[in-house]
Amino acid sequence: MSSPDLIVKNARLRGESVDLLVKDGKVLEVVPAGKAPKDAGETVDAGGLSLLPSLTDVHTHLREPGYEWKEDIATGLAAAAFGGFGNIMCMANTDPVNDKAGVTEMLLDKAATAWPDGPRLFPVGALTVDLKGEALAPMGELADAGCAAFSNDGVPVKSSALFRRAMEYASDFGKVVIDHCEDPYLGVAAGANEGEISGRLGIPAQPDAAEAIQVARDILLAEYLGLPIHLAHISCKKSVELIAWAKQRGVDVTAETCPHYLTLTENELADYDTNAKVNPPLRTEADRRAVLEALESGVIDMLATDHAPHAAHEKEVEFDFAPCGITGLDTALSVTWGLVSKGALSEDAFVRAWTTAPCERFGLPVNRFQPGDPADFLLFDPVEEWTVTPESLRSKSKNTPLLGRPLRGRVVRHFLAGKNIV
């Protein structure tokens, strides 16, 4: 065995005390604690902290170019690094839209300058030009420039015919299409679930059927075409049932949900809290439970933050006028680890949802702690309590309904390819 250049001693990996051996940025071996050789270049004593693989977020909004007052690539990657994310896929709804190689290249250049050792940025290219849903974006050019997938996220494609063509065209480059499932004809994207709460508050709202109808369309197209589809930010029980049905039929469908759909409900809107205004909206308790069960069982494959930063002055307006979106990179790990701590989510499902499933689907580097895997890992304190305050968040924007609430679990150190980035 070649000698490691980094040893992490005395860490907890799935309940076992271990030493992690790293060489040339890759995992060399995981051995029982105390069994590591002495001749390493660098030794880190984990002091019994948990060892987790770096997380991957397949759905984040970095806002640069065009909306840098909300977030920029440097601050977004800072939030990712401190939040435990090693790979980030950023959506194309910037200004200009990421529908040209030049935009993709700019994103990658900025990321490499701001955070040369990662978190790694994987842009998602636009599915249609300017996200208008009228003409296909040049996906070949975008793939060559480094786009990892394609999506019209934020602006659902109304035409099923065009969406079909987009799926077909993307497949020529081996890329998966990510769909923002929302039937725009079935009510405005109001950030509120249509039901008892929205009715009482008198706010515009959208029914869960608006999401489920589009989920059904995508599943049927994927089956008909024999092509993969990835469904973004699933929020409701009806969608879960359709995805389960599709998987039973062998359709190549994967789906993500977000921490807020697992932990919050439409009740957050009771005081018109614009920080809880998100699209798709927070749903009912029955939806929350269904989505959580689906994540545990694997019907929903992965987690994503849908990190959507907005400046304070944009959210501090009348409810109807506030943009939809919740930030998530800073809080996602603690929020979802909280579910593991409570026994509501297994650690296996947690690791699958944040690491292996997204990386396998989109061809990103993943650490399973097997020899040769990238040494992307966290030393994580699962019991440290912290309160979500504007000062505790690295993201430029602070729009989360969790402000003022206590969370448990924090990243202490973060290594990517064996290099300490936090």
Binding site: G202, H313, V317
Partner: protein
């Protein structure tokens, strides 16, 4: 009764006793409105901003008159006259107004929750004069007061609220208040003009006016906003009128001496027939008169409140 509320945002913040206290206070002020000299010095030196970011005639005039009759200084501001028109946020407009140190702001706004938004940020009292589809508490209180003057006792009464319930802040606030007073409430509208999940609300829901009106003690008509047809919620206004316009025939199905209310402005022939609107059993103009008295009561209670 010690008044404990800095703001009036929604009926649900009040208790039944507080609602009745508003009625009793309004009764006292109603008498002032009938004097040859309709002005008392009760709120002399107090200033009230009437901030109407959405068009209104009767509510604004009613608040203005209520304030002036109590000798408060009232200042009017509309959206077109304010910096909102120039892109200023509601927060900044409100903070600017607060810096002038008014005692209360009366807000009408097209967005639900706007009054709460303001109240959370201001030290002065905020009175909700209608926020989006959410609440119109002073309208509900004046409606309640108008019926209270007629009935005094609400036990065993049934009120039908007829029309565009989905978009109506009046219906929402009246439902809460009437339930609180022990009145049975019925809603009647085409399904497209009923709120989602309305079946879980504390009322009986009808789509047939003939069935809904049977035996009720009062019908509260709502104004149909004519753009609902363009929104695709109605086939056409003629059909709406045919099915949901309150006519003498319907009133024959109601309880004898049943009353009719309408918050105005009325679309005669569309949601209410002229015969009914002008009939002796119509309380439409009583509502307007009650409005001034109720708003005098509310301004008095809020502006003379002693903080705990």
């Amino acid at each position: 009764m010690q008044w404990r509320h800095k703001d009036l945002l929604d009926i649900s913040q009040l208790s039944r006793d507080e609602v009745l206290h508003v009625f009793e206070t309004a009764q006292y002020f109603r008498e002032i409105n009938e004097r040859p000299v309709k002005k008392v010095p009760t709120l002399k030196g107090k200033s009230v901003v009437l901030f109407f970011a959405e068009p209104s005639t009767r509510t604004k005039t009613s608040f203005d008159m209520a304030g002036k009759r109590l000798s408060a200084d009232t200042f009017s501001l509309s959206k077109s006259m304010s910096s909102l028109q120039k892109g200023e946020t509601l927060k900044d407009t409100a903070l600017t107004l607060q810096a002038m140190n008014p005692d209360a702001i009366v807000l009408r706004h097209s967005v639900s929750g706007a009054a709460k938004f303001l109240a959370d940020r201001l030290h002065c009292g905020v009175l909700n004069a209608g926020d989006g589809r959410h609440a119109h508490p002073t309208q509900a209180l004046l409606d309640g007061y108008t019926l209270w003057e007629q009935w005094k006792d609400f036990a065993g009464k049934t009120v039908l609220i007829l029309g565009d319930i989905a978009h109506s802040r009046v219906a929402r606030s009246n439902l809460i208040m009437l339930n609180m007073l022990g009145v049975k409430v019925r809603f009647c509208a085409p399904r497209t003009l009923l709120p989602p999940a309305v079946r879980s609300w504390p009322c009986e829901v009808y789509t047939s006016l003939d069935e809904a009106v049977r035996g009720v003690d009062a019908v509260m008509c709502l104004r149909l906003q004519l753009e609902r047809q363009q929104d695709g919620l109605l086939p056409d206004l003629r059909e709406y009128s045919r099915l949901y316009c309150l006519s003498p025939r319907h009133m024959e199905l109601a309880a004898p001496d049943a009353r009719v209310l309408h918050p105005g402005p009325m679309n005669r022939g569309l949601e209410i027939s002229s015969v009914i609107a002008d009939a002796p059993r119509s309380l439409v103009l009583d509502q307007v008169a009650s409005g001034v008295a109720v708003r005098m009561a509310l301004l008095f209670l809020i502006l003379t409140r002693k903080e705990a």
